[in-house]
Amino acid sequence: MTPTQQSASAPSYWRSIVLWPAFPALLLFVIAFAIDAALNPNLLSVNGLIGFGSSNLPLVVASLGQAILLIGRTIDLSIGATISLVNVVAVSLFTAGFGMEVALPLATLVGVAFGALNALLVVYLRINALLATFAVSFVAGGLALRVQSAPGGSIPFELVMWMMDSYAGVPVALALMLAAAVAIVAIKRSTFMLRLYAVGGDDAKAFASGIQVTRVRTIAYLLSGLFTGLAGLATTLAIGSGDPLIGEAYTLQSIAAPVIGGVAILGGSGDPLGAIFGALFLVVTSELLLGFGVSPFYQQFIVGIIILTGLGGVVVLQRVLAAWRARGAAASRRRILEVAP
């Protein structure tokens, strides 16, 4: 019995990695990063990693928030505009003379407040999530322009320096990225997340199982709002000033990233960690293209092609893996049944 079990468990360990929904995105990211590092060895220096971490932290954090919503079969199109609003609110609080112990939490709360607003519209008033959050994106974007109509302002210099710092060769920005990953792993272990998978999988069945569907989706929006607020802070620390339009591109990228990362856009399955790899794949490939000297005029076009390639590649890979997984399920079923008395 023992040898058969061991020979069965060794391949199943690899199988479980390969069948991990986030695996295709991890693979894509590692390949893109390796090419980027080969062409641009500076990327692997401490300074290179600091730049890499600080410029990509906002998208990674925003994508995690979006991933939570997608798993619960809902969405937020106001993430980008809210990031802009958080950014300009933080800068104006600093300009008004508040310390960071006031400015940073208050600005984060702006993100949570917009999460609450979205929850009110989508979960309680039952307005279509696409429409409601699209409308909210104009509210947040308009408020951002009202707070600060043009790029400018500044934040305390030590905050900018902290983001550019490293401890024992580990850049602060990368450590924060790791912290975000740890946070999402903790959230995955929560009872809330199990309910969220159920709600995203089929809300009628979740309801029949006694799950309070509205409460679960509300928590998802509040959590996502918190992540959006933190993404706004990360943006602020990375650019060191305020820009009412800084977040615009993040909305669609924050959706593309989790989907590339294997989160089902129709909810109920996938690993939110995949959003991190999806986000990093997106940014690394666009950096690569810039490195090849592609004109910035083509950048949007190229980024669009990359998103399509990433999505297409993942869809194809997912199909292949789904077939594998079905076979794997049948195989693990057989294995379990053999071991069973």
Partner: protein, 508 residues
């Protein structure tokens, strides 16, 4: 310590589902809710479980009424239900699914995986399924899913279990497990309600029985004191109504010209093959318990399900390959459903709805308003003008509009899926009249499914009774086709695979 259901009535639109019904379940008692298709037994079970709110009447536990229409309230009173349509989520593991109703937690926020798995093992162990704990539900077989649904209910240690058609998908050895678990449950002072249309399982599992027919209680007694014949007579109404006897003189004509022939098609991966033929102007019914393959046959005939060799489909003797409903409509096949949202455009006008079927034809049919009006008036449709939206009409008149458009198409084959669902008796008779005329005047072959055995008996020239994706019986109008015979055919259906399992087990 008992459930009391008193004076419960419920209607859906013009249809009365339940009329002043009541029963009690005492501790240690397993009560069967028994009846034919559309008798109201599932509605009654849903009312007790809180999923459906009754129009009047009440459900109480130990004399205390439970707030109506709340699964949570029923649950708090100790009533747990296994759902026929299953409440399991395919992407989650068995253990996770079991935990969903009440997730064990550590440190307030986090899921206690060890407890989740231990609890799952404990309750699955009672059903001999502990080895399934970590499998995703999508990897389970049908019978196992039903048992896991039962385990999910048992985990909550309910005082009263409602099993809605739980055992119909189970093999014999699995049914034995359910029997043992129910016995343990009753020994511990619990009670249960079993919704079923299978005589065998009622006789082996239940103590008492409430028989429903057309939403009314026709018998309430001990299982031990009644015979199978009594039950069949109660469910079938004991009447030979519905058979129009020799009224159909043209049955000879139907045999001469075969309009549609579907042969050697397997309705399920491992099921045997079925074949059927429908004559010109013949109305063929597909009967039996719900979900025994009736929908799959309609799907084959409408291009929704591939008919692959060796199976084949002949239309007027010529083989046809239908890849989509578009192909089917072009080949002269029309589909009408009692779920009017499925086939009608509710907010669009009558004329748009009537023309919708004709849009895809290769040879256009030109129609003017007068012809549309005439098609509607031939079916005595009451409407306020061709430009009014479909949903401004009553259900019965909507159904006539959707049938009238089939007249315009002059189809070779009409597929009717429960065409009079939810419409009143008068409109139902007119819809029947329309279908008969279509068959008689245009030579259209009709294949019909119905949730009501009386409709099959009243309308069809011939009924094929399905059981587990196989045709088990054929009943002819004028030769014993009536409601009673239909009920009998599916209630006494031989459970083919049970014999197989028993046979396989007995071999060395």
């Amino acid at each position: 310590m008992s459930i009391t259901v008193e004076h419960v009535s419920k209607h859906y639109g013009p249809i009365i589902a339940l009329r002043d019904v009541g029963f009690t379940v005492a501790p240690g008692e397993v009560r069967a809710l028994f009846g034919g298709n559309g008798s109201g037994k599932s509605t009654l079970a849903k009312i007790v479980s809180g999923a459906v709110r009754p129009d009047s009447g009440r459900v109480s536990v130990d004399g205390a009424p439970i707030p109506a229409g709340s699964p949570r309230a029923a649950h708090a009173a100790g009533i747990t239900t296994t759902f026929q349509e299953l409440s399991l989520l395919p992407d989650l593991t068995v253990a996770e699914n079991l935990a969903l109703t009440h997730v064990p937690r550590v440190a307030g926020l986090f899921r206690a995986d060890k407890v989740i798995r231990a609890e799952a093992r404990a309750v699955l162990g009672r059903l001999g399924l502990a080895h399934l704990e970590n499998l995703p539900v999508q990897a389970l077989q049908v019978g196992e899913k039903y048992l896991v649904e039962l385990a999910k209910a048992l985990r909550l240690e309910p005082r009263y279990l409602i099993l809605d058609e739980l055992t119909s998908a189970l093999h014999e050895h699995e049914a034995q497990l359910v029997k043992r678990v129910l016995a343990e449950h009753c020994k511990a002072g619990g009670g249960a309600i079993l919704v079923s249309h299978r005589l065998g399982e009622i006789q082996s599992l239940c103590d008492t029985i409430t028989v429903l027919r057309n939403g009314e209680v026709v018998a309430d007694t001990d299982v031990a004191s009644v015979s199978s014949d009594d039950l069949i007579r109660w469910v079938g109404g004991g009447s030979r109504t519905g058979d129009r006897g020799g009224a159909r003189a043209r049955t000879t004509a139907t045999k001469t010209a075969r309009r549609v022939e579907l042969s050697n098609v397997a309705l399920e991966a491992d099921a045997g093959e079925v074949s059927l033929a429908v004559g010109k102007g013949e109305i063929l019914g597909l009967g039996g318990l719900p979900d025994q393959g009736q929908a799959a046959i309609l799907a084959c005939l409408f291009g929704l399900r591939e008919v692959r060799a060796p199976a084949r489909l002949l239309l007027d003797g010529a083989p046809v390959q239908l890849r989509s409903p578009t192909d089917a409509v072009r080949a002269g096949i029309a589909y009408v459903s009692g779920d009017r949202d499925e086939v009608g455009f509710a907010i669009r006008s009558l004329q748009e709805n009537m023309l919708a079927l004709l849009l895809n034809r290769r040879d256009p049919i030109r129609l003017d308003e007068a012809q549309l009006e005439q098609a509607l008036s031939e079916l005595s449709t009451v409407h306020g003008g061709l430009t009014n939206p479909l949903n401004s009409l009553s259900g019965g008149n909507q159904q006539k509009v959707l049938l009238a458009r089939c007249f315009l198409l002059r189809p070779k084959l009409l597929l009717a899926a429960d065409p009079t669902k939810g419409i009143d008796v008068a409109a139902r008779a007119e819809v029947h009249q329309a279908i008969r005329r279509l068959a008689a005047e245009q030579g259209t072959a009709v294949v019909l499914t119905s949730s009501d055995d009386r409709e099959l008996a009243a309308l069809c020239d011939r009924v094929l009774v399905l059981e587990k994706r196989m045709i088990i019986r054929e009943l002819h109008a004028g030769a014993g086709l009536d409601e009673q015979a239909l009920v009998e055919s599916y209630l006494q259906a031989p459970a083919a695979d049970r014999h197989q399992v028993a046979g396989a087990g007995s071999r060395p």
